[in-house]
């Protein structure tokens, strides 16, 4: 059965498709079942068809996008812009609203500029981390890319979705400096200093005369980002890879209190990752090899498995970036801090200096490694995660962690929890739910768990950094202060910029959170 945009008849949609074909070329309008299926979310926590698209369009550039917008506005066709469409675990390429038409920007794939002196670049949406890394190497660049855990995604898409990496530039949204944005009415805007004709400072400084607007085009549906400036890190003189084992569950409070001042003072100058016990027992095996009982893997069994591998209840890893002599000073401060507050911790260090071959712990190579864990719980596997933003204070982190761990166990899910110290003053929790995609009971239980946790977190004033498509409205509705004043403002901005609501309806719940799923 054909999938149509809500409110459109087959005849009206056929007319719109005919106009899209005339505008951008027949070969770049995809309507077959096979082509549309390639835009489904393979890891959806439920029926993929809930987020099926009606068609996909692949423009070659801004002018094609403008033609598409004009037609879409006239026919009220909702568009769902994607870059690489690899937002795995959060919806991949699929639209939030069933029947949307995918606006696939992958053909817009130029690295427009790399400025070695300023350490900046300008890229288009279709540039993946694989592509960008290859291009920097082709140019013999002295700048390093900060990539996320898997490299398939888009440099622009990941930054716009607030993705993270593992270098001092690892909070990717903060590396954004200047955008070119196409609004729903077809007008093209350059943010920041890009608004000045002949500017040489577009990528040099984020704050123009007047408001800085880059942020409003991240995790939003206010426009289509067609170009993005970003900052790149000069190759460091050296690196140290630090791996810390912390023995007991009860050490968590002290661990957070030890890490926070080190990160705030920039002694730890890149994001750190904390993994709990359940998160450490997966490597190299599948769940059925270690647990054959109903419900979550018990804490006792998990601790047995940790002991077999000689791992602590908590694992912390991070990399330091500096000259070799300065790395010695950083490491000395870290060792002294742990000796004082967590003397039971074990610290291992690896080192690298400029000119030496790179090693895997440096995480500078492109990777698809996270896909390897998808089948942990069963085949065909799926996964998504619950990602609250938490202040790195011992009491607060313990409060949030305890709620999440307890709820996962209550719902029969392994509490597979990581925490990312992405900035000096924030932890992002990533509590992964792995499920067998074909198991309707399990996926339904995961959805209930997710919404239970949304309620739990909203009750203590904690929000999410990102969600799967299925929970966009739930996550938006958590922002209750002032009678949902912020989500209401988002709705007003949306109505002003996109009165027909054609751009990414449902994205981040903007324009839809009051209705719910």
């Amino acid at each position: 059965m054909a999938v149509l945009p809500p409110g459109l008849t087959q005849q009206a949609f056929d007319q719109a498709i005919a106009e899209f074909r005339a505008a951008i070329g027949e070969e770049w309008v995809f309507t077959s079942d096979a082509d549309r299926a390639s835009y489904l979310d393979p890891f959806d926590m439920g029926d993929q068809d809930d987020h099926a698209s009606a068609a996909a369009l692949a423009p070659s550039g801004v002018e094609d996008c403008r033609k598409i917008l004009e037609i879409a506005n006239r026919h009220k066709v909702p568009l769902w812009p994607i870059s690489m469409g690899k937002n795995l675990a959060y919806g991949t390429a699929a639209p939030e609203m069933r029947g949307s038409v995918i606006l696939d920007l992958k053909r817009m794939n130029r690295v427009i500029e790399v400025n070695e002196e300023l350490g900046t670049a300008i890229v288009e949406p279709g540039v993946s981390f694989f592509d960008f890394k290859a291009e920097l190497e082709r140019r013999g660049s002295g700048l390093w890319m900060s990539g996320p855990a898997h490299s398939w995604g888009s440099v622009i898409g990941n930054a716009l979705e607030h993705g993270v990496g593992y270098t001092p530039y690892g909070q990717h949204v903060e590396t954004i400096c200047g955008m070119e944005v196409l609004l729903a009415d077809g007008s093209l805007v350059r943010t920041g200093l890009g608004a000045l004709e002949g500017t040489k400072e577009w990528q040099a400084f984020r704050w123009p005369f007047g408001p800085g607007l880059d942020g409003m085009f991240t995790q939003s549906n206010f426009g289509i980002v067609t170009k993005m400036g970003l900052w790149l890190m000069p190759e460091p003189e050296g690196m140290a890879g630090v791996s810390i084992r912390v023995p007991a569950r009860e050490d968590f409070h002290a661990l957070i209190e030890t890490l926070r001042p080190l990160r705030m003072t920039d002694v730890i100058n890149a994001p750190y990752t904390i993994a709990n016990g359940w998160r450490q027992i997966t490597g190299g095996r599948v769940r059925s090899e270690v647990w054959d009982q109903p419900g979550a893997i018990s804490r006792e069994r998990m601790e047995e498995l940790l002991a077999e591998r000689g791992q602590g209840w908590w694992s912390v890893i991070f990399n330091l970036f500096d000259s070799p002599a300065a790395l010695d000073l950083r490491l000395d401060k870290i060792r002294r801090a742990f000796a004082e507050k967590l003397p039971g911790a074990t610290i291992d260090v690896q080192r690298w200096e400029q000119g030496q071959p790179q090693e895997s712990w440096m995480r500078q190579e492109v990777s698809l490694a996270p896909l390897g864990v998808v089948d942990w719980g069963g085949n065909p596997g799926g996964h998504s995660d619950f990602g609250p933003i938490v202040a790195p204070l011992g009491d607060r982190a313990e409060e949030v962690y305890s709620i999440i761990e307890q709820r996962f166990l209550e719902y029969g899910k392994d509490p597979w929890i990581g925490m990312f110290g992405i900035s000096s003053r924030a932890l992002i929790f990533v509590a992964d739910m792995f499920f067998t995609r074909t198991d309707a009971e399990e996926t339904e239980r995961c959805r209930r768990l997710f919404r239970q946790l949304c309620d739990d977190m909203a009750d203590i004033g904690v929000g999410l950094y990102r969600t799967h498509l299925r929970f966009m409205d739930d996550a938006a509705a958590m922002h209750r202060w002032g009678d949902h004043a912020l989500p209401r403002l988002n709705n007003r901005i949306k109505a002003a910029l996109d009165p027909n609501g054609i751009l990414a309806p449902g994205k981040q719940g903007i324009g839809s959170w009051e209705d719910g799923e």
Binding site: A37, K106, N109, R110, R139, G142, L371, D375, P380
Partner: protein
Amino acid sequence: MRLKLIAAALPLVALAPVAVQSAGQPSRSPEEIYTTRCAYCHEAGGWGTRALAKRVPAGEAELRNRSSLPPAYTIAVVRRGIGAMPQFTPTELTDAELEALANWLDRGNR
């Protein structure tokens, strides 16, 4: 390993836009597509090879070592995904490129 750079020889700013990929264009050979899009997971040591090692006869986990890999099967898997492998859209490789890739893999395995 990264290429070593020679700073003095670097152009400071590349003024001309450079196309890093030609997504959707039929100019790429099957070898090029395999190398840039498939090999990372499907050569020795890749996670795809490790996953397939549990499901296929010994010695056949690497795609290029298969005794049989019908093109129709490759095409279906690439467009629909399988197991933990997500699917590829027609803007990542066109139907013509996918068919050429599937035939090339099949020929190489005979």
